[in-house]
Symmetry: none
Subunit: 255 residues, 2 copies
Amino acid sequence: MPLRKLLEKIRIVLIHTSHPGNIGAAARAMKTMGLSDLCLVNPKSFPDEQANVMASSAEDVLAHAQVVDTLEEAIADCHWVFGSSARHQRSLAWSLLEPRDCAQESIRIISQQGGQQGNLQGKVALVFGRESSGLTNEELALCNQLVHIPTNPDYSSLNIASAVQILAYECRLAARDWMALDKSVLEDSTSELVNAAELEAYLNHLEKAMVRSGFLDPEKPRHLMARLCRLYGRLGMTRSELKLLRGMLVAFEKC
Amino acid sequence: MPLRKLLEKIRIVLIHTSHPGNIGAAARAMKTMGLSDLCLVNPKSFPDEQANVMASSAEDVLAHAQVVDTLEEAIADCHWVFGSSARHQRSLAWSLLEPRDCAQESIRIISQQGGQQGNLQGKVALVFGRESSGLTNEELALCNQLVHIPTNPDYSSLNIASAVQILAYECRLAARDWMALDKSVLEDSTSELVNAAELEAYLNHLEKAMVRSGFLDPEKPRHLMARLCRLYGRLGMTRSELKLLRGMLVAFEKC
């Protein structure tokens, strides 16, 4: 699957943007990173010559941009909505993601929603508020999670196209890294966690190997098994990770 | 040490910028991430009202900007110089870093040059070429390493201020992580969690044992190390747990 397929499932939503130049600059930022789905909620002026100028050669993104009246319309077909938030909204009862985590989460959501292989159905929206005042409480309420770009606390005035640029950059990296993972790792993120019986079977196997190697003396067990049980127990291991550890153990035993 | 102390050792150098608005936007991008050292090599028009407009409230960065005639002057007191490069320069015999690695490397250089504690002497320059044509071969020859921002191969036309924004963002994250790492190492003696270096040493040991046992084929690594790194990385292992795992590995190797 080409990178593009993943990235085209990420929608950038700009709410009530005042300066059409910012819309153009955002379109350019998107296109440099391979994003193409732009939705404008009630922009002050669009289409606008200033937007075209700032878009440079990303006018196709502008040409395909949807223009809608409300955020509800913009996100209607999205499975997950991230709202971009300034620091002062930290006081709200929200968990704030960083761009990197937001991007990885987006790619995960998009790929998980793909029922059939190569047939991605998931869609994620990244929502950016007004240049001056960000997102309203009503708009925040429509978001599933907030993302905050770490900035200089003395001057956090990121231009909106710059904010889009950073998020789009992280999305590209996340999509690329996702594609670079091999299938078994891929299964990792989606496969089930091991249950207690599977974990115990592994620990029994490990115990036997330790006894055989002389590391564990059944006469003086030094609480080794209890400690390993606690260590692996808190890991939240997936099936494929357990398979890996078991394979490694078998290989060590054969030496 | 405040984050600012690290970030002020990173100089952004813009060479022969044509559009003064880009200089202002770059200054704004820098300030949002806590960078303050801007040097302009032979700008087409500076000072310029358009630069001030685009700088928004980052006019102090412009006010303190140095203006020089040559790249040599701009980097004279820098310990390391990164040149920002477009993809087509990949053909040159250069190792291209990504922004994340470049930022981490910058912070490492800056902090290593600090002879006395808290007295940072290291300085790093990130050099950006002309909007149209990038860096000349003569300018490239003055750089120690090149950094390339991954972009859409069909449209890699990053605005220069956007490129500055991404690099500055990565520098801020790298500086923050560096400071957090420092702290966790200090706190280590009380919490007894292993640090990154100790974990890496264990993973290296494990890797060798896996290769020896035939489980890991260096020709077909199957991302095994990446998966184990993630698995053990999220554990938050204590020193005594690591000691246990290491002892077990040594015992298995002796079999």
